[in-house]
């Protein structure tokens, strides 16, 4: 497939009219062809108009048709073959195995949502049958289902060019819910975006769906991004990226005449707690696991362990020493973009100013490489200095040494909202872990014991979300099947004749759903 450098508005490949974006190979700083001309508000309006036209028919497609569409997207992505892998590697500097794995995750995610769509639990069907004899007033027949919110704007992330991008989790869950999607491609991987976008457009066509179900735009966040979020036909937003980007989109969405929900996944430093018994028993193994999680993928994960918390003493010292011994063997790794690389250097600079440097990884020996950094500070300093809580996107982490369990608790209460919190503990740590748990439940969306936060399983129980500013909306997850709920709203039908009811609510239950019938769950 020859890359065209064009946007996809429905089935049409259309050339933009604004400044050209060219991907940069971060490993070489070479610009990659073709140029992707950005769009302006006019293209946004076209894509939204198509999405709006597609909305009513698409949201009433059968569960089977919609599931088949999601599976078809997966197959079309797989059919791109090595071209997709090679382009993604060139645009991101990520290693082949990682991109291959990510393709598997992306397609697996689409197929998981297909199963979710077919199972139909997301419709949350509730039926309260009529009670015509009830006193003092009869009860009408009331039936509830969930319907799609409307067209959704999706902003791809830089660090997962497949799994959190054009056909990533936001897109998959919005399509599963019955929402057309307009994606603004991330400027760091436009070619990867075009390949995946064209696979999606092929799936739309193969499934006979209205073309407006999917469009793909290029352009600046300030112009195309804001135009998209403020278009009246867009009814929700999915975003993964920086805190400033997420806040800008959220504010634009709230300033609309009709405000809309924004699901922005923004920033997290993912505290890791080292409890005393665990630290005494295996500080060296913990240090090894930590350094490995910290440096994985150049630390470019939202769940990267950017903060380690423990009670000071010889065991914590041993952990720090071991981590500081290991880090100098860790190679600098090419980061995703020149911008991310320089932001990392600034973040490291700020930490250097406010905390004590414990160790660094090997120095960079090529462009845009991130050198791992480990810092140490006292809890009292951490509590006094907001800079130490800022996310530094990359392989940098800060160890906070606390004087006591009580100070561990203070540091925890002082934390902003997080995607994850990790507890390393042994049997003897259970009482103090239990005491800290209520704080952590209030602070994070996912809590882990004796693992590392990097690695986010796509499944039913996953929560990739958390209190502000980890996300803009803690009531949801952006990974896992529950992500579909972000794009739905309930509608109640009162005394409707069967002929007018959607299939999910008809008296004969033709979709064989497990409804909540007069307060009882059907078997």
């Amino acid at each position: 497939m020859t890359l065209t450098g064009k946007m996809l508005i429905g089935q049409q490949l259309i050339c933009g009219n604004r400044e050209a974006i060219r991907a940069i190979n971060p490993a070489t700083n070479a610009a990659l062809e073709p140029a992707y001309l950005g769009g302006d508000g006019e293209y946004v309006a076209q894509a939204c108009a198509l999405a709006w036209t597609a909305f009513d028919p698409y949201r009433e497609t059968s569960l089977e048709a919609r599931a088949t569409f999601l599976e078809s997207i997966a197959s079309h992505i797989e059919a791109l073959g090595d071209e997709l892998i090679e382009r993604a590697i060139a645009e991101t500097g990520l290693p082949p195995a990682r991109i291959q794995g990510e393709r598997g995750r992306t397609c697996g995610q689409l197929r998981t949502f297909a199963r979710t769509v077919r199972a139909g639990e997301w419709l949350d069907v509730r039926v309260d049958t009529a009670q015509p004899q009830r006193q003092p007033l009869p009860r009408p027949d009331l039936r509830q289902r969930h319907i799609a919110l409307g067209p959704v704007a999706v902003f791809g992330a830089s660090n997962f060019p497949l799994a959190f991008s054009v056909a990533g989790g936001d897109t998959a869950s919005a399509l599963a819910a019955g929402c057309p999607v307009v994606v603004k491609a991330h400027g760091a991987h436009p070619g990867t975006s075009e390949l995946v976008g064209r696979a999606m457009a092929q799936a739309v066509k193969a499934c006979g769906l209205p073309e407006g179900v999917f469009s793909l735009l290029y352009g600046s966040g300030r112009e195309v991004g804001i135009a998209l979020v403020t278009d009246p036909r867009i009814k929700a937003v999915g975003f993964t990226g920086s805190r400033s980007g997420g806040i800008a989109l959220t504010q634009a969405a709230q300033a609309r005449p009709e405000p809309i929900p924004v699901y922005a996944e923004m920033s997290s430093i993912n505290p890791v707690y080292l409890f005393p018994a665990a630290l005494a028993a295996r500080s060296e193994a913990l240090a090894q696991g930590f350094v490995s999680s910290l440096t994985q993928g150049a630390g470019q994960f939202c769940t990267n362990p950017g903060l380690v918390i423990g009670v000071q003493g010889p065991d914590l010292d041993r952990f720090i020493r071991r981590a500081a011994d290991l880090l100098p063997n860790c190679a600098a790794q090419t980061m995703l973009t020149p911008g991310i690389s320089s932001a990392y250097d600034s973040g490291v600079g700020a930490l250097t100013e406010h905390a004590n440097l414990a160790a660094t990884g090997l120095a960079a020996n090529g462009p845009n490489q991130g050198q791992a950094h480990l810092f140490v500070t006292q809890a009292s300093d951490f509590l006094a200095n907001e800079h130490l809580q800022a996310e530094v996107f990359g392989a940098a982490s800060l160890i906070v040494a606390c004087a006591s369990h009580e100070e561990v608790r203070q540091v925890s209460e002082h934390l902003e909202g997080q995607l994850t919190a990790t507890l390393h503990l042994d049997e003897n740590d259970l009482p103090s872990a239990k005491a800290l748990l209520p704080v952590l439940e209030r602070k994070a969306g996912r809590l882990l014991v004796n693992g590392w936060p990097t690695g986010v399983e796509v499944c039913e129980a996953m929560v990739h979300g958390g209190p502000y500013p980890a996300t803009s909306d803690s009531r949801s997850t952006s990974v896992g099947t529950a992500a579909i709920q972000r794009f739905l709203r309930p509608v109640c039908y009162q005394d409707f004749p069967d002929a007018l009811l959607p299939g999910a609510l008809q008296h004969g239950n033709p979709l064989l759903l497990r409804r909540l019938l007069d307060g009882q769950r059907e078997a």
Copy 2:
């Protein structure tokens, strides 16, 4: 029980320090004793501090303990006896049967939420068991439940002094979810609020719960209301009232360093569609039903039918004539407050300016009485004039005569978000109703056939919500058991030992919940 005029901060009756609020009997304009001195930010901070202290223990109460608490509130409200009924009548001008019915609804609602709490479906327990042998990576054990968001601020509504006030739907659903509640009493019924508030405080004590689970404040919206919504310990807001009030609270909540969700139910004109066959068959009966729904309770319902839409012709004319014949027999009714009464008069004035007056009810013969008004306009005028879509709270309605089905559709697309939309139809209307349905699903939270929108059942399937500006968050309902979901967020536990897991997630399923286990719903 002697009314004290005091706020309730936990178990303490505390006198405010700001301007006194006195209820007005709207039937006589007489001020009622005692005076309720408003609080300031200091009292808000005290109540929020107590709520925060109560939060962790309260959210982990057993399902049984929490359900018993809700039932205890209902019993304590019933034990107030006639004193509550009499005070509510004096403060609102509503008739005794209505207040008695509303007490029944309020207590029934608390008991319904008790059943919901016990059933435990709201926990949405999902378990994905470990797959240690999986390739290329093992799957950890992942378990999800929902936990309470945090202390909730509730703003009582004027028009339901019991069911949407101190112990109303917002409070009941927040307590059911595990959230402590701080209520700002509505200034129109402070005595009713004190009585119910003290019943609630008694229930808190009787159930041995931390006192901060419930507080009740008086004061101005601008001072106490904003202080409450911006207190960092408040994590969500429930509000029923005006659009301007809802927007002010929403903006304050979004401007916080940590923005929080606001569930504001604000304004709706509840379009009623008269389809041709139904109109031909029974225009007179429809007119009778309409006038009765319009004038019920002086029209002071969020679901009052403020808009009627039909295709012009002799049948619609007959409907209008019949309604215009009936209206002059409808007595003017005492409205809830002098403020609501004068706002109604202004709203009627605006409609008089922009539409044609078809009929009025009997003129007022006492203070604060609302005279019913019926207006007629052409669809083209309705489409051209935004004033005609403004909610007029009271017994005023506007009939929009459309030239064609296509114009009915245009008018429908032009509507703002609504709580309800009602379709009066016969067999022969089904095709045109079906064609309009997608528009109505996008516009309203509840759709009714051959009924009237006033009357909102408390049940599983109810949706009392809808797209903006009907509510600030269309993804939810403020009536019915699904309202509990507004105050919850998911938390995932990865590889937790049983000793550290909450009961709902333990391996042995001690709460006997119907979990989603490895993608399959347990029986």
